[in-house]
Symmetry: C2
Subunit: 315 residues, 2 copies
């Protein structure tokens, strides 16, 4: 039995069909319609699903579920998106609305970081483990945690906000209003902030030169490229960045002691250049000496689709 996963992001809506062997059979996407009316996104979602099913000569009646992943907070009992700011969903009855287009089909909704963790659990980096933490490094920090084979959504089922644990007491301001959150030191945005700050102080640095003196041209890739090529300024920033990630891994090990910690998101594409210092830090400082394996996520951009399609196995 196949099932449908939908990853609803601020830039695009991606729909996929996942087969019984947990492989992504086919996928399709369209830009998210930022028209001011969230009902337009329902139309896009439903037409993407119908189109993909038709192309693959499949029948929605044979699908195990439609799973929806959104970048926001979820009321699980009512299938409502409480807030997904990038989508302009607020108290939005997403499950009900999608369900009305496909009567009789089970519809589930989940936070996108959680869905991605579920994808890794069923068919990615967490395969064979009963516990795992996915840390997705993007503009912010997404966290998805599987414990004892179940997605962890908090004691009160309001979600799991890994990026908003404190890492640096009284540190840099975070978008959430707190200071010094994991997100404000470990996100790609934090790496860029520190890179720009350092480049501004070191005009002789490779970073500053490559950006031709325009700090806004410094992005995460540029900082990492310069660090890899041995630029002293970029290397110092990058080393400190991996220490923040290492301390974050140590926090995760002390609190969750998962079998595996996977890093996802663009920054993690650098593989060993990122992971090796994090592993070294964890080996030296983690409370549990036999701690989690530290790896990169496997599913990349399809994690949300695949995880969403697996939601029926959790509910």
């Amino acid at each position: 039995m196949y099932s449908i996963g939908v990853d609803i992001g601020g830039s695009k809506i991606a729909v996929g069909i996942v087969g019984e062997d947990l492989q992504l059979i086919s996928k399709k996407s369209l830009p998210f319609p930022h028209t001011g009316d969230p009902m337009d996104s329902i139309k896009t979602i439903c037409s993407l699903i119908s189109g993909l099913l038709a192309e693959n000569r499949m029948d929605i009646k044979k699908a195990a579920c439609i799973g929806l992943a959104v970048p926001g907070s979820i009321d699980y009992n009512r299938g409502i998106v409480i807030d997904a700011h990038n989508l302009d969903y607020h108290g939005f009855p997403l499950c009900k609305l999608v369900g009305e287009c496909f009567p009789g089909c089970v519809v589930h909704v989940e936070n996108d970081a959680n869905a991605a963790a579920l994808g890794e659990f069923y068919c990615g980096a967490f395969r064979g483990c009963s516990s795992g933490l996915l840390i997705t490094i993007g503009t912010g920090i997404g966290g998805g945690l599987v414990l004892d084979g179940k997605l962890f959504v908090g004691g009160k089922q309001n979600g799991f906000e890994f990026g908003h644990a404190v890492l640096v007491f009284n540190g840099e301001p975070c978008t959430c209003g707190q200071r010094g959150c994991i997100e404000s030191y470990c996100s790609a945005a934090a790496l860029v902030r520190e890179g720009r700050k350092a480049a501004d102080q070191h005009h002789e640095s490779m970073m500053f030169q490559r950006a031709q003196g325009d700090l806004t041209r410094i992005n995460a890739k540029l900082v990492m490229d310069c660090a890899r090529e041995g630029d002293v300024t970029a290397s110092a920033i990058y080393q400190r960045y991996t220490e923040y990630l290492g301390a974050t891994a140590c926090t995760a090990i002390a609190l969750f002691d998962p079998e595996i910690i996977a890093f996802g998101g663009g920054v993690s594409n650098d593989g060993e250049f990122l992971l090796s210092p994090i592993r070294k830090y964890a080996d030296q400082y983690a409370f549990f000496k036999h701690h989690a394996k530290i790896v990169t996520a496997e599913l990349k951009n399809d994690a949300g689709i695949i995880g969403a399609a697996m939601l029926h196995l959790q509910r």
Copy 2:
């Protein structure tokens, strides 16, 4: 049906009988025998249990279990204490040894902070909740977490080390070898360290005066007493201390979102003087606005005994 709880600490071994109504019927304790031979503590434990049963005209055959709480790490599958440094237990088959004295009786072992959380769950501050975090402030920081009615002992079942999440990246050294752990800022020992440091810089302070210039006389109670009486130096230290505890509560809320957070240990006896600034901090900064109630633990010194006696309800 009654059951037996044993709280094995570095200074004393306390045994209690807990009745069907979850009330502590009777208890008894003896000093922990630091003889160099851990088998001597087995004799003390077993004679305490036998004595208490005899005094209460009870029969071990009618006990639901003997539950043991120890300040250390546990191999749950094998009933072995991996390390309890204060007791000199290392790879010590505690369950088996106690079980040999009471054939046919079920024997369980648990970390003491976890047992205390279980006590709060069944008959203390967590009653009526399905999730709760107990933070015990002592020389170190103990943490016990109940999620969905079950004690959380980590993804790999090595334990839950709440005190060793990072709070201040690259901060004060912690006993675990890491820097800036919650324990190194929120323990009573940390409050004393900061109090002494400040008193040394402010000989005019009430703290320094009351200690008659002998910094070693400054303990947690003295810092708190001086803060309560308005001493500027002590107040500044105490305020910062409650901010560390507030940020710790925020981390717990972001990661576990429990229904309730209870503070235990000597420092928490101060009730509102401690809790009110922590609540204010959490109200301002916690990621989830409808966050955990923040209270003091209820069971005090009996938490370990009562929680240990409840272990049969979890296994």
